[in-house]
Symmetry: C2
Subunit: 327 residues, 2 copies
């Protein structure tokens, strides 16, 4: 398998990333394209194929593609489908694995992006050697992947690990899923923007964020403002960490992980988000769990964390059984 | 193993039950004693031993004791300990397995009572053939046991499955664990009593429960009143189901179970608790989980559900490996 590669694909609400990854977790070639969330899935897959062919060109001849792993919102590992993804306009059930196999004659496995990230951290990253941990991705939404006893928890129907849609407040913010008060409406890149809007309405503090239209505000802008001491931006991180920490304490009560790993755009804010999250996690933990659970950043140096995770979906099977999953 | 038995012990906040169970899940002889929660553990173990010896008498000679499984609050499967149990006055870390082995030269395994119940349902009851399910015990507290991919989730430290201490409301009711608003302060036999007290303060409805002192009120009395149409009692069940259903929707988002099994005193209220719990579970579920998750009563006909579960802790190992766990 020395010159084998797998293709990892991460479909996010905004961007889709792809990369060809070797068994050591090294991304040999990568690319990104806009997801165009309003487009049907087959258009994205066609553009994805074109981008992947282009990216694969320098590896062709010297490397063998062994399989394609895809992380996508609401993706179902058992069925190869994506079902009513909250941040994409795909309608109903899309058989993403079948769509991709119209272009490639290799095994294709799909799972939600955070499950893929969890496998990536277990194979190559911060969770190496751990048997119980949770990965939280703080991107457009909040995704999660739970590993218990060394195995990714898929659940009865392949949809386990949807912590972004646990309820913070049943009368809270409207969520893309049609309900109210879901964790991801608070703790995500878009969630912290909503918190800033609310704070700008509530408080009288001067803030550079007051000059930015809500429709163009990003979590990166909030991070930059917080680093400069902006009081609204700092308070937004405090609130985000308070809510995330409280719900992570609930998650610990479910599966008692050794570590929780925070990934994604908002996690890149570093101690701005880790410090309050850790504080409120500890504050809300049942005594038997206190001062035990590590809160860690990604252990993957490569920027393409989610792509590595998606590729790990295939590598995990190849390493366990010698054969990739065929579904 | 035809005449082998295991001893199952269930230590609750109020009563401790024991039973000798064969491999088919039949309880051949059983007994109960008060837990006396204020006593140190060694006194309970001494009384337990005396009661077990008495109960075993008719089986002696014809049966062989293969091991002892114990379900107890905050029990740790990995270490054989009980650590700061919220409903007992045992201080610090008690090595319950060692205490029991001073009386018996057989393997002893401990886990929390709800984990034990989950194994009982998997081996003999409502979860036969299931790989992903959750057991909720509604007793003095609320316990839970999570099975994912066919394995009981113990977590990094053996304490997984503490859904009773997930947070409903951070400014809510005081909990025995020292925090506020834990699920078990609402959804348990004691929780529904507290709900009745609150309702008697809030509402002007006539209720037979108004004649009962809070210190003697039981969930059974509330059940009886609700069956006779008492408005406060019925509303208490509605509220209990609303809160339990909401938090079970969170639990589904974690591990996506095929079924949730409700056990314990309050579950014996039948549709009084199942109907509102199911209603609010469905109402709070993310769309991809709706109308999929079964809400079931115990599948064990024997009254000693928790004892069967504790015995299953040993039988589960004997059936898998031929040898019971030795810790």
């Amino acid at each position: 398998m020395e010159h084998d590669v797998t293709l990892g694909v991460d479909i996010g609400g905004t961007n889709t990333k792809l990369g060809f990854v070797d068994r050591s977790g090294k991304c040999l070639a990568s690319a990104a394209l806009p997801t165009n969330a309003h487009e049907p899935a087959r258009k994205l897959v066609a553009r994805l194929h074109a981008a992947a062919e282009e990216t694969y060109r320098p590896l062709r001849g010297s490397h063998t593609l062994r399989g394609i792993g895809v992380g996508a919102p609401n993706a179902n590992y058992y069925r190869g489908t994506v079902e009513n993804p909250p941040n994409l306009k795909w309608k109903g059930v899309v058989n993403l694995a079948s769509l991709i196999r119209t272009y490639y004659d290799v095994p294709v496995a799909v799972t939600n992006d955070a499950n893929a990230a969890a496998l990536g951290e277990m194979l190559y990253g911060a969770a190496k050697g751990m048997k119980d941990f949770i990965v939280i991705t703080l991107g457009t939404g909040l995704g999660s992947g739970i590993v218990a006893g060394g195995n990714l928890v898929y659940g009865a129907d392949g949809f386990a690990g949807e912590l972004g849609h646990t309820t913070v407040d049943p009368r809270g913010r409207e969520c893309g899923c049609g309900r109210r008060g879901c964790l991801e409406t608070y703790a995500s890149a878009t969630g912290i923007c909503r918190t800033v809007h609310e704070l700008l309405g509530e408080r009288r503090d001067a803030s550079v964020l007051g000059a930015i239209a809500p429709s163009v505000l990003t979590s990166r802008m909030i991070t930059d403002a917080a680093l400069k001491g902006d009081p609204i931006a700092r308070e937004a991180f405090e609130i985000t960490g308070r809510i995330l920490g409280m719900k992570l304490a609930d998650a610990v009560a479910h599966t008692s992980p050794e570590a929780i790993i925070l990934l994604g755009g908002l996690a890149n804010a570093g101690s701005l988000i880790f410090r309050p999250t850790k504080k409120y996690l500890e504050k809300n933990l049942l005594n038997i769990f206190r001062n035990k659970v590590k809160l860690l950043p990604s252990g993957l140096k490569d920027e393409n964390t989610a792509v590595l995770g998606a590729s790990a979906l295939i590598w995990n099977e190849l390493m366990k059984t010698g054969t990739p999953p065929r579904r």
